[in-house]
Amino acid sequence: MERKRNGVINLLVLLAAGVCTFAVARYANSLSAHVAVAFFALGLLAAVVNWFQMGLEERERLEKLEFDELTRAGGSATLFEGGDSETLPARRSREQFEKVFVPGFSVLLLILQGVGAWWLWEWVRTGVSNVHNTMIAISLFGIFALVLFLVGKYATNLARLQKERLLRPSAGYLLLCAYVLAAVIGALVAWEAGVASIDKYVALAFCALLGLLAVENLLTLLLEIYRPRVKAKVDRVLYESRLVGLLGQPEGLVTTMAHALDYQFGFKVSDTGFYRFLEKYFARLMVAQLAILALSTCFVFISAGEEALVERFGKPVANGKVLGPGFHVKLPWPIDRVYRERTQEIRQFNIGYTHDEKDTHDNKGPVLWTVEHYKNEFNLLVASRENMDTNLVAGKKSPPVSLLSVSIPVQYQITNLHAWTYTHGDPAKLLEQIGTRETVRHLVSADFQEVMSSRRFDAGEELRQRIQEEANRQNLGVKILFLGLQDIHPPVGVAAAYESVAGARQTYQAKLLAAQAHKVKTNALAVAEAQRRRRVAEGDRQRVQAVAIARAGNFTNQIPAYKASPAVYQMRGYLGTLAREGRNARKIVVTATNAQDVFMLNLEEKLGSGLLNQPLPPN
């Protein structure tokens, strides 16, 4: 009866602690606490079956007592002449329960463990750990863990002392749940200390443990088929997990290790002073370890490039004095807390595009307008002074603006950690918004061509100053170090058109140069030709003069000869000229005196002699 009461206590404690843990897990939104509830559910199922099985055994025990009493009283034997099933129905029920229900329940447990491990793993893997109300959760989980530990210890000892095998499964789960909650508390403490990822890792470790339980359960079921049944021996409860027992009672593991050491060394290692010391003061050593851990939170090491603020109960210590690099002492966590920031680090945000780690110019060759510089570039509006008569596109009037792709890196440094930490919830995001706003404000009033060319440097400095002023006004505690306007260009879609303008300017220059070349050539040739003509004329003039003078002189000399015999002189001159100059002329002499005859003279030029005109060689 007492045994059954203990089973009920285990069941109720597991139920209450499980429900409360689930409620607090929801309240704190901790992944590890959510997964921990699965162990409570498994423990609860085991406790329910335990409790039912205990009832059956209790009934069997009472039935046996009654049967023995009646047998001793010498009652009519005919009353019990039937078989065992008829005379001892409670035993029969218990046997049937162990034979049919317990294996079925073990299979159900296996399915729940396996499916639960897989489903929870996926849930945790895709989930985001966002714990809140951490301190309340830690305190409540601590209380639950203490209660579970005390009740579990009591139940375990009771099961060991009274050899109550049916108490062991639920007692094991009570202790396991206590340790699981301790791990959850550890994860939440880590979260509070700033290591947020621990909660997720602990949750994943719980899922893995659940999977291990499923594997162990499967092996137990397989081995159960081939296990030799010995009548006198009390069987181990099929759904009792050895792994749960080991995790719930780690001292059992130590004892086993001690026995193994004794066996290995050949003498009682467990009897040595050191081992006894360890065994005796293990708990105190663990507490001392925790105390040292707490003490270690009193020392702060600030790395080079870092600064830190210390808060005592949430209030900045020494009027917000900033701790520089080096060693510092503070009160232990959670009284004093340190908030570090890498203030010497040069930080950067980007205007005009969203930075992607894959976006790097390394080994990409030249940066061209026609190729996107970054994956997530966006276009900004910019005013234009150009004539807007060309705005009619496809029958619609488009805005009198142009678009620009800008990729502006802005580098800054935190100069006032106090202002950076305490003024704005997300100062980095605000700075990026201010930077983008000032850029947009500048572009909407700037001329497209000027921004692209002559005003680029001035615009960069002006923008940097504007962002700095606005950051100061918002008390962000930063200094804007650099703002680069190197990546301002027409959007990729129209970049080619802009390049064609540059090409057209080259064509323009080329045409002018070709015309200039023509001019130079034409002028030079004309000058030369003019000079030539003048000189030819001069030559003609001189020749005419010289010839005239020569003829005059010659004429004077010819007069006496002519006067001597004009006819002879003339004939001599005539014949001489005819003979001299007509030497090469063809001469045809018409000797006929008949004036009426018509002579046909072919005065055509003969073609040059060819192959056909060659005379054939004589035979």
Binding site: A383, R437, R441, V444, Q474, Q531, R541, Y562, T591
Partner: protein, 298 residues
């Protein structure tokens, strides 16, 4: 027994720690806390420090960040002259009155932000609708109303938040981005391309025009030079003839001889090139062929 007392002491210490955690809470400089007793706000704490409370579920502490929060809203809006714009606006706000803030938003900053987003959208769609496009983008500073538009939006959302007693103060507002919808962006791209094409044509035509002008000027200069040279050459030749004419005075002494010599010179020139002479027997010296005395000798 000693072991048990140590265990009990450790257990008690742990219990004390956990219990202390249940009764105490901290408020950071950046936070403001509202303590509720059975759900009713009973205390507001804005000063940083450690405070006591009854354990949950009697009292519950709701902490909110009292620093300035900022969020963005990105929406398509219409200007008064019918231009579609994609406007991204950011707003900075903080909790000015936690007692008002807590019941209205359940202590949730995200819920407050959701409400503010509604106000913001209402503010900037309303304000943008009152301004033409040129107030947003213009090279003329007189026309540009960028900062005024921001101020109008800020005042509108501020007045909404104050009128509705949100317990929130709007600290600042800025237009982060002005963009055009995709369809309009394409049209702007087309227009920009057309502008460039016009510019290309203009530059190339100007080039051709200037080149043609240079060429024609050069040709003109050349023709002028040649014409001048030709004129000069004619003058020179005339001068030669004039000079030569002086020498012709001597021909007056014997004009017949002069004429004969000229004819003879003409004949010489005539026969210089290839010529075919068809001569009859009356032509000297072929007339000798008709002379009987010569025939007889023959």
């Amino acid at each position: 027994m000693k072991y048990n007392s140590v265990t009990i002491a450790i257990g008690a210490l742990l219990l004390l720690i956990f219990a202390t955690l249940l009764f105490m809470f901290q408020v950071r400089t950046t936070e403001v806390a509202v303590v509720t007793t059975f759900g009713r706000p009973t205390r507001t704490i804005s000063a940083a420090g450690a405070y006591m409370k009854w354990p949950w579920p009697i009292q519950k502490v709701h902490k909110v960040d009292q620093r300035v929060h900022n969020f963005e809203s990105f929406e398509q809006v219409l200007t008064s002259d019918g231009f579609n714009l994609l406007l991204s606006v950011y707003v900075g706000w903080n909790i000015s009155d936690p007692k008002l803030f807590f019941p209205r938003f359940g202590g949730s900053e995200s819920r407050a932000q959701t409400s503010l987003e509604g106000l913001l959208r209402d503010a900037y769609t309303g304000v943008v609708g009152r301004h033409p496009f040129v107030h947003f983008v213009s090279t003329d500073e007189k026309q540009l109303q960028f900062t005024n538009i921001e101020n109008e939006m800020l005042q509108r959302i501020k007045s909404h938040a104050e009128t509705n007693n949100y317990g929130i103060q709007i600290k600042f507002l800025g237009i982060k981005k002005i963009q055009l919808p995709e369809s309009v962006t394409k049209l702007v791209f087309e227009r920009m391309q057309s502008e460039r094409k016009v510019l290309v044509s203009r530059i190339e035509s100007e080039g051709e025009s200037e080149a043609a002008s240079i060429r024609s000027a050069a040709d003109l200069e050349s023709q002028k030079l040649l014409a001048e040279a030709e004129a000069a050459a004619t003058g020179i030749r005339g001068l030669g003839d004039l000079e030569a004419a002086k020498s012709y005075e001597v021909f007056k002494q014997e004009p017949a001889l002069a004429n004969f010599l000229l004819q003879l010179a003409g004949l010489e020139n005539f026969l210089k090139d290839r010529a075919t002479l068809v001569l009859d027997l009356d032509t000297a010296p072929l007339n000798l062929l008709k002379d009987p005395s010569i025939r007889m000798q023959k």
